[in-house]
């Protein structure tokens, strides 16, 4: 632990401070967007978007290496694929619900496959592992600025449209009757989630970003009294998992993203078990396992 603190304070190792800053900035997105994703039960949709992003990364790497678009950054391809995936999923969810599962899973698998194929045909060496599982130590100052800007946008949108977001997630039909454009709220949620995934995959990778979008918010949800508290609690927990995970990964010489996700998963499962045991002792069903009436 002292070694990690020394590294944080070492002027010759800015990447360690960048990693912590990226983790803390990401925590806001994990907490706020994660809460909306969790209560709207669209984690599967977010998972499909995050995995389809590999297709964009692979295509950007290939086009840059082949000289078609010299210098094209992988994040540009990721953004295009993320938004395209969000648009397709949004359209299918709203207009063709009977095929929703098929299309989401197809996007998930085809996106990854396209990415693997492009990376395989990219001249030179491109390591897909750093995209799949992330490498927070490669976070640049530009990445930090983009994360901070997205944090500000997401927090503003969540504050400004909180009643509409809450009502759309709780009872979409009633929200529509009250005049809330629920389809627009849904599509905007998907679009913001897609953009966030592109930035967040730098941290934990495209495979595990969905874990951080659900676990801290889900853990906070056990104790939160409302959606706002869930967002704040999810952000705080995410920051704690991030700081603790980075310190542990430094001490144990392990991949930071994986350690952070293991911390988040362990906390979620522990709290869920405690809640289940307490509920059984008091004779009440745990909230997450209650039946509907």
């Amino acid at each position: 632990m002292s070694g990690y603190i020394s590294a944080l304070l070492d002027p010759s190792m800015p990447f360690v401070r960048n990693a912590l800053a990226a983790g803390l900035l990401s925590s806001v997105l994990f907490g706020v967007i994660g809460s909306v994703v969790t209560v709207k039960r669209i984690a599967g949709l977010a998972g499909a978007i995050s995995h389809a992003v590999l297709g964009g990364i692979g295509m950007a790497l290939y086009l840059a290496a082949k000289g078609v678009f010299p210098g094209l950054p992988p994040i540009a391809g990721a953004l295009v694929f993320a938004l395209a995936s969000a648009a397709i999923i949004g359209f299918v969810s709203l207009k063709a619900k009977q095929r929703e599962d098929t299309v989401i899973n197809a996007l998930w698998a085809v996106g990854m496959s396209v990415g693997v194929l492009f990376i395989a045909k990219t001249p030179g060496y491109a390591d897909p592992m750093s995209y799949l599982f992330g490498n927070i130590l490669l976070v640049s100052t530009r990445d930090l600025v983009m994360l901070a800007v997205l944090d500000a946008i997401v927090v503003f949108l969540a504050w400004r449209f909180y009643p509409q977001i809450e009502a759309s997630a709780f009872d979409e039909e009633f929200a529509r009757v009250r005049g809330v454009p629920t389809d627009a709220v849904f599509v905007a949620t998907l679009a913001v989630t897609a953009v966030a995934i592109v930035l967040l995959q730098t941290f934990v990778g495209i495979v595990m970003v969905i874990a951080m979008l659900t676990l801290p918010a889900g853990t906070a949800g056990f104790a939160a009294r409302n959606l706002a508290a869930m967002m704040i609690g999810g952000s705080v927990l995410s920051a704690a998992f991030t700081a603790g995970g980075l310190a542990a990964s430094w001490a144990l010489d392990m991949p930071a993203g994986a350690v952070v996700v293991v911390f988040a998963g362990a906390a979620f499962l522990t709290i869920a078990a405690i809640v289940a045991i307490r509920s059984r002792a008091t004779g009440r069903k745990p909230r997450a396992a209650e039946t509907t009436a």
């Binding site: 809450e166 997630a169 005049g179 809330v180 009294r225 409302n226 959606l227």
Partner: protein
Amino acid sequence: MTRVSAAGAPASRDSAAGASPSPAPVPRAPYGSAEAAPVVAVRFDDVSFSYGEVPVLDGARFHIHAGEFAALVGPNGAGKTTVLKLLLGLARPSAGRVSVLGLPPEEARRSIGYVPQHVSYDPAFPISVAEVVRMGRLHSSTRRYGRDDERAVLNALAMADVSELAGRPYSALSGGQRRRVLVARALAAEPELLVLDEPTANMDAESEARLFETLGGLKGEATILVVTHDTGFVTALTDSVFCVGERGHGRSVIRHLATPASHVASDQYGGPALQVLHDTELPDDGCCGGKAGL
């Protein structure tokens, strides 16, 4: 089927009044003379609707007077939900016209209180009873709730008899309590038209009695439309009964007479019940000589 003539038959409201201690005062058009037509809260004019190739409504024509307590009955799959969606502006008719409080449904939404059947909700959703009820004051885009909104929420909690639950998590309530909270949410809108979809589904007798007590208190102040799959009996609060079902070549909405049913256990309908007479059919223009106005 007995078709009751416009001149000779009592409106179903009249028959229900016999079983109801306080028949609904029917508001009159302010611009009318002593013989002015009753104000109409809901009007379907030859409305047709289909899901793709499957026709659901075919030329449905009915109206509900302002201040009435109406029941829309029909078996599962008959098209009750479609009528509701059209009335709430969540679906558009393929032919005909729907008007609510004299306006297209989309423009009348702010004056409608809606209690959905709400059979599926996320029990892990963190939200308090007070926050659920405050949704009744939700605006389409603004985030502010003013003093009027807070007052309306408190009134609605009291009217639905759930004030003591305000601070509790919604997920901690029983099914009957949750239903009354949703009624409070609808009342928070201070609606001119209150629409309740299967309000007594999964309710215990006590909650049901409390619900009908609340609705009885509202009768005459707002138009109330209760949708139910129970085609045999309705609460004695009911002034008019409409049945969704087969008619000729398609589905339509038919107005029936209802008569007091003393042989039905009163705890099933929150009090005395009326039996729906399915072999009667009241013409749409029978109740007010075709003069019902907006």
